[in-house]
C-alpha cells in the first residue's frame, strides 16, 4: 500500500490512488450487488466504531424485563439479565471487526512478503516455503486453531489475531508467488534487476503496485476467514474474552440454554444476523471487485 503513488515510466502508467478509486467507484456503481456490499461495509464500520461513541454502554440489566420480545423500548428485545439486545449489537461489533482487520492485515502482509520473496529467491527456500504452505492448506484450519487456542488461551484480541493469522497466510502466499513468477519476467522487472536495484525495491516498487487489486481482494477475503474462525473459537468458549461482542453474546446464550427458549429468539438471532450481514457485505463486495478486475468477466 505504501507504494501507491509512485510515478511510473513509459506505457506502464498506473492510475494514482484518487483517480483509481474514482474509476473503481464508477465501475462499482454499475453492479448493484457490489454497491450493496460496499454500503454494508460502510454501515458496519460506522455501527462498530462510530455509533458506540453516541450510544452509552448499558452495564446492568433490569431483572423485571428479561427475555423480552421486541418492543418500542427494546427494538430487539432483551437478554437473560434484561439488558437491551440492540445496545449490545451496537457495542459488540468493534472487537469482531477489529480482530478481522488486524488478522487480515497480518495475513496479507506475511503472505505477500513470503510469496514474492519466495518467487524471486527460488531454489530450496522457495521449495521449503511452498511445501509448508501446502501442508497448512491440507490440514483443516479450524481444527488446528481449536487445538492451538485450547493450549494458548489467547486473552486479548491482538493475541487472537496472531493465532488466526498463523494459519491463514498459506493460500494467498501461493497465489502471490504464482503471480510474481509471471510478473518477474516482464521487461520492467528485468530492467530493475539489471540496474541492480535490490530485492526490496523490486518487490515494493515494481511488483506489488501491479498486484494492488489482487491484494485488496485477498485482504477482504482474509477478513471473512478471520470472522468465521474467531466467531467459532469464541462460541466454543476457547477465547476467554469479556465485554460485549456478537460472538460472546452467542456463547452466553448457549450457556444460558437460550437457544431452546422461544422468547429468547431475538437475543440469539440478532448477533447471528449481524455477523451474517457483515460476511455477506464483504462477500458481495469481493465478488464485485473480482468482476471489475477480471477483464474476461468484465467484457460482457
Amino acid at each position: 500500500m505504501t507504494a501507491a503513488a509512485i510515478p511510473r515510466r513509459g506505457d506502464r502508467t498506473l492510475p494514482g490512488p484518487i483517480e483509481g478509486g474514482l474509476e473503481f467507484l464508477r465501475l462499482l456503481s454499475r453492479r448493484p450487488s457490489g454497491l450493496v456490499g460496499f454500503a454494508g461495509i460502510v454501515f458496519f464500520l460506522v455501527l462498530a466504531f462510530v455509533a458506540p461513541i453516541f450510544v452509552p454502554n448499558q452495564e446492568s440489566g433490569d431483572v423485571n424485563a428479561i427475555y423480552q420480545t421486541p418492543s418500542a423500548q427494546h427494538f430487539l428485545g432483551t437478554d437473560n439479565t434484561g439488558r437491551d439486545v440492540l445496545n449490545q449489537i451496537v457495542q459488540g461489533g468493534k472487537e469482531i471487526i477489529g480482530v478481522a482487520l488486524i488478522t487480515a492485515f497480518l495475513t496479507t502482509l506475511v503472505a505477500t512478503v513470503l510469496g514474492s520473496v519466495s518467487a524471486l529467491v527460488g531454489g530450496r527456500f522457495d521449495a521449503a516455503l511452498v511445501g509448508l504452505a501446502d501442508i497448512l492448506l491440507t490440514v483443516p484450519p479450524l481444527i488446528v486453531l481449536i487445538v492451538i487456542s485450547a493450549l494458548a488461551r489467547p486473552t486479548n484480541f491482538l493475541a487472537l489475531a496472531l493465532v488466526l493469522s498463523l494459519l491463514g497466510w498459506a493460500g494467498l502466499m501461493r497465489q502471490v508467488r504464482a503471480q510474481v513468477l509471471t510478473l518477474k519476467e516482464r521487461d520492467y522487472v528485468e530492467a530493475a534487476k539489471s540496474l541492480d536495484l535490490g530485492l526490496t525495491h523490486i518487490v515494493f516498487r515494481e511488483i506489488l503496485p501491479n498486484m494492488r487489486s489482487y491484494i485488496v481482494i485477498h485482504f477482504v477475503l482474509a477478513m471473512t476467514g478471520a470472522i468465521y474462525a474467531q466467531v467459532a473459537l469464541i462460541i466454543l468458549g476457547l477465547v476467554p474474552f469479556s465485554g460485549k461482542n456478537w460472538a460472546l453474546m452467542l456463547y452466553f446464550a448457549q450457556t444460558q440454554g437460550a437457544f431452546y427458549f422461544r422468547d429468547a429468539f431475538w437475543f440469539v438471532f440478532s448477533p447471528i444476523f449481524a455477523i451474517i450481514l457483515l460476511q455477506l457485505s464483504l462477500v458481495l463486495f469481493v465478488n464485485a471487485m473480482e468482476d471489475i478486475f477480471n477483464p474476461r468477466l468484465r467484457s460482457s
Binding site: G131, V144, A232
Partner: protein, 360 residues
C-alpha cells in the same frame, strides 16, 4: 514459466521441487500425503509439549490437589496415562511416540481412563465422514449442474437468482446454518423435531443391515447433511459458473462448434469436463472446512461424530484425544486430497503422461 499459468500443473510441479527426480504423479501424491501427515503430527506433538501448562502438569495438579497423592505418585500416573517417560528428553519422547504411532497406538484418554484413543476416534469418525461425505457429494453434483446451467443461461433471470443466491448462502458460516435450523425451524416454527433427531441413531436401535436401522441412520443424518450441503453448494455454483464461462471462450470449443458437434456433446465432453477439473481439487479443502465446522454443527444437533467428541475433549482438556482426533481428521482429509489428485490425473490426460504437461 508457462508451467505456472496452466491450471493443471502446480500440484505436480510443487511435489517435484521437493523430490527432485521422483517424477511419477502417483508416487508424488502419495509421498506428499505422507509428508503432510508426518509434519502435522510432529508440529502438534511439540506444540503440545512446549506450550505453558502442558497436559502432564495439569494432570499432576489435578491429582495432587486433594493431597491424597504425592507429587511423585501423581507424576508416575500422569506419565503412564500418556505412555511416555517424562524424564526422557523431548526428542526421545518423540521417537517413542512415533514408534507407538507406527503400531497404531495413540495413547490413552485422560478422562475415560484406560480407553485407547484409537477406539474413541474410530467410534465417532465414521459418523462424521458419512454425514460430511454425503453432504459434499450432494452439493458438488447439484452445484456443478446449477453452475453449468447458470453459465449457459448467462444474464438471464435464472442466472441472476442462482448467482446471487450462491453468494448469499456461501457467505453464511456453516455453523450458523445449523444454529438457524435449530432456532428458526426447530424452536420458533416447530417444523423440525430437533429433539427426536438428536444423536447419530435413536437409542436402543439394533445396528444391522435392516430397513429400520438404515432409515434411522438417515433420519438422524438429515440435519447435518443439509447443513454441509447448504454451506458448500453456493461455492460450487459460483465456481462452476465462472469455470464454464472461461471454458466457453476456449478455442477448442469454437473448433468443436465449427466441426458441427451437437451442443449437448460440446457441453458434456468439452466445456463441462474442462470446467469441472479445477473444482475437483477444491473438494479436499471444502471437506476440511466442513469437518472444521462439524465441531459446532454436531454439538447443535448432538450428532455423535468427531466434532462433538473433539469439543468434549477440548472442554475436558483431554489432550491425547485432541491429538488423536487431529491426526485422524488430517489423515482423512489427506486421503481425500490424494483421491482428488488421482481423480484429477484420470480426468485430465495432460497430467497422466510421464513428465506431465509442464515440461520443466
Amino acid at each position: 514459466m508457462v508451467a505456472q499459468q496452466l491450471p493443471a500443473t502446480p500440484r505436480a510441479s510443487r511435489a517435484r521441487h521437493i523430490l527432485g527426480y521422483w517424477r511419477h504423479p502417483v508416487a508424488q501424491a502419495v509421498l506428499k500425503a505422507f509428508l503432510t501427515v508426518f509434519v502435522t503430527t510432529t508440529i502438534t506433538f511439540f506444540l503440545i509439549r512446549l506450550m505453558p501448562g502442558n497436559p502432564i502438569d495439569i494432570k499432576i495438579d489435578e491429582l495432587t490437589k486433594d493431597g491424597l497423592m504425592t507429587y511423585q505418585e501423581a507424576r508416575a500416573q500422569a506419565a503412564s496415562l500418556f505412555s511416555i517417560d517424562l524424564d526422557k528428553p523431548v526428542l526421545e519422547q518423540y521417537v517413542s511416540f512415533i514408534g507407538n504411532l507406527a503400531h497404531g497406538n495413540l495413547g490413552y484418554s485422560f478422562v475415560s481412563q484406560g480407553t485407547p484413543v484409537t477406539a474413541i476416534v474410530l467410534a465417532v469418525l465414521p459418523w462424521t465422514l458419512f454425514s460430511v461425505g454425503t453432504g459434499l457429494l450432494l452439493s458438488f453434483s447439484v452445484g456443478v449442474f446449477l453452475g453449468l446451467f447458470a453459465a449457459y443461461n448467462r444474464n438471464t433471470r435464472a442466472d441472476h437468482i442462482l448467482s446471487l443466491g450462491g453468494s448469499i448462502i456461501s457467505a453464511v458460516p456453516n455453523y450458523f446454518i445449523a444454529l438457524l435450523i435449530v432456532i428458526v425451524l426447530g424452536v420458533e416454527l416447530r417444523w423440525v423435531p430437533i429433539t427426536q433427531m438428536r444423536g447419530a441413531t435413536s437409542s436402543g436401535i439394533q445396528p444391522g443391515f435392516t430397513f429400520s436401522f438404515i432409515g434411522d441412520v438417515l433420519f438422524h443424518a438429515i440435519l447435518p447433511v443439509s447443513v454441509y450441503f447448504l454451506a458448500s453448494v453456493g461455492h460450487w455454483i459460483l465456481g462452476m459458473k465462472s469455470a464454464t464461462i472461461n471454458a466457453l471462450e476456449e478455442d477448442y470449443v469454437s473448433a468443436a462448434r465449427a466441426r458441427g458437434l451437437s451442443d449437448g456433446r460440446i457441453m458434456t465432453a468439452y466445456v463441462g469436463r474442462n470446467a469441472v477439473l479445477p473444482l475437483v481439487t477444491q473438494l479436499a479443502i471444502t471437506a476440511g472446512l466442513a469437518i472444521g465446522g462439524s465441531i459446532i454443527i454436531e454439538s447443535y444437533f448432538v450428532y455423535q461424530g468427531v466434532g462433538l467428541r473433539l469439543q468434549a475433549a477440548v472442554t475436558q482438556r483431554d489432550y491425547p484425544v485432541m491429538q488423536g482426533i487431529l491426526l485422524m481428521v488430517t489423515l482423512s482429509v489427506v486421503i481425500l486430497n490424494l483421491a482428488a489428485d488421482l481423480l484429477y490425473s484420470r480426468l485430465d490426460p495432460r497430467i497422466g503422461r510421464a513428465g506431465g504437461a509442464t515440461g520443466t
